[in-house]
Amino acid sequence: MFDIERWQEIFDTLRKNKLRTFLTGLSVASGIFILVILLGFGQGMQNGIAHEFEQDASTSVWVWPGMTTKEFKGMNPGRRIQLRNDNFDFWSKANAEKIENESPRIFVRNVNVNYGNEALVYGIHGVQGDFQFIENAKMVDGRFINLLDHEGTAKVVVIGNKIRKDVFGHLESPLGEYIEFSGIPFKIIGVYKELREREEETLYIPLSTAQKVFNGGDRVNNLAYTLPPAENFDQAVAQAVAFKDELRQYLQQAHTVAPDDTGAIQVWSAMEEAKRYYSLTGNIKFFFWFVGICTIIAGVVGVSNIMLIVVKERTREIGVRKALGAKPWSIVGMILHEAIFVTAISGFLGLFFSMLLLELVGPYVEVDYIMNPSVNLNVAVATVLVLIFAGTVAGFFPAWRAANIQVINALRDE
């Protein structure tokens, strides 16, 4: 292996057979290249989906009421379920230790929003202070709604960063400005930011204000919670599922809904959704691996093919070398040495260029559900080694056969 004469002989041969060397190298390099890119995008999809779930707190649980579809205890189907403050208060008191953050939400409708002479068309949500953490919103200016606002029915509003850019772009800070909701002035006390701009188009006001000023009574539209962090993913899922089921049972009882009427009160857990997506990405990754391994197999077949042709093409040369005193093992060694050298160099080149591409382009990929495609270097290097090994095994047999045929037959080969 470290015989300098052998290396010189091999470099000579490779240099003088450029096209053959190039084609062998290309098939290996492209195999590795495709595999790494595929694996990179598999990882990218996993990253992307994980990212999608980061925008809301991953342990959040939401209640969406709907319409009953089943008759139960004398109640007709088709009844609309309306959540109330009592539901929220009762559940919060009973399960305080299981809950990290909590807030009801009410949608305020049929209200004209004006800033000066400008009419604004943004959704208005009445929420409590914890809602900031449930939505994973970051404050970039001022503060979010707090308990005092809630208890004092304060006429304050928190706006999204996009609204600030669109409406208050001319001001250094929108804090202290007033927006009129049906003629009632609300003071801006904060600006929040979310991971996506389209979620920054909501105006948040205190829940109590929304109910009292805009005639909401004690009605709420959603209940939202986050659960305290669990030790690991599976525990978190189990915890979320248990919480969700208990919450639904309670609400079904409180609103006289049949236990199997799932549409009437929908409880949605981000954790459970996440688990579904994670198993999906697992499948996608598996698929990419499958395609990648097929690519490698194609690469191995390609290398074996080229090895066969190389040996065939060089049969006469092998005959000449043997007539001049080459031992069979030196012939096998020469052919394999060449093959290993070319496969290794081109394999690592393919690896290098695919990694380079992922490094350069990866961070700029802006497609939904794909983020920062990257690949584990160890895995990539291992595949190159596998390819080299397979190429060697594939090349050994034709080389061995060629080295052991009668010299005279090798010399007769045209």
Partner: protein, 234 residues
């Protein structure tokens, strides 16, 4: 130097067996220049290939410089070929992607001679065959006569005990044939043992001894007065 007794060889041709050599007995001393003649199919090339360990005999004895050649492993055969024998073929058998010098140096590579020494020796032998200026040319840039001279230089480079030439002039015109034979005679003059397979009378008469083969047996074995090829050259 060469001693063979009752050598037999047959080839399988489908279901038929073709008996090519039917008991050859033959000795060659050191320094001889022997022409093996015969029409095509007489077995002369087969004999040479067996002498060169490129092919194996079915039965019979073969001693080369006192060493019995029998049931050799490929590795051992390779060693003996490298140590004892030099080959010249009708179709030259140069490696087409190696320059004249590299071709000549190749047997030395298998003798584990260092690169520098290999190249020096190769140049020396190319100079002997008058092709020093062509050392860095590829075979396809050389004429047939030049190619054969490179092949002879290559055969000589390993300093073999016996030089085996299979129709060395078969692919050459008369003038170049004589040049090549002149070269072979010169090498023989230096004391090397040479066996030449040919079917050309004039080439055969440039050797010192002629063996006639017909249908796998030696029908005639005579010493002759050598015709010097140099008288035809120029």
């Amino acid at each position: 130097m060469i001693e063979i007794k009752d050598l037999h060889k047959s080839y399988k041709m489908g279901s038929n067996s073709l008996h090519v050599l039917k008991g050859i007995n033959f000795t060659a001393e050191e320094g001889e220049l022997v022409a093996i003649m015969g029409s095509s199919g007489s077995g002369k090339s087969t004999l040479l290939n067996i002498l060169g360990m490129l092919d194996e005999a079915d039965s019979g004895e073969y001693n080369l410089d006192g060493v019995p050649i029998k049931n050799l492993s490929e590795t051992k055969a390779a060693k003996y070929r490298n140590k004892f024998l030099g080959f010249v073929f009708q179709s030259f058998n140069l490696i087409n992607y190696k320059s004249a010098m590299e071709n000549v140096a190749l047997p030395l590579y298998y003798q584990k001679v260092g690169r520098k020494e290999r190249e020096e020796k190769a140049i020396k032998y190319l100079e002997q065959v008058g092709l020093k200026e062509w050392a860095h040319h590829l075979p396809n840039e050389l004429s047939g006569g030049q190619k054969q001279r490179v092949a002879i230089a290559r055969a000589m480079a390993a300093e073999p005990k016996v030089l085996l030439a299979d129709e060395p002039t078969g692919a050459l015109d008369s003038k170049t044939s004589y040049e090549v034979m002149d070269l072979i005679q010169n090498i023989n003059d230096q004391g090397n043992t040479i066996l030449v397979v040919t079917h050309e009378e004039d080439i055969a008469h440039m050797c010192k001894r002629i063996i006639h083969l017909r249908d796998g047996v030696i029908v005639e074995d005579k010493k002759i007065k050598q015709v010097r090829a140099s008288s035809y050259v120029q």
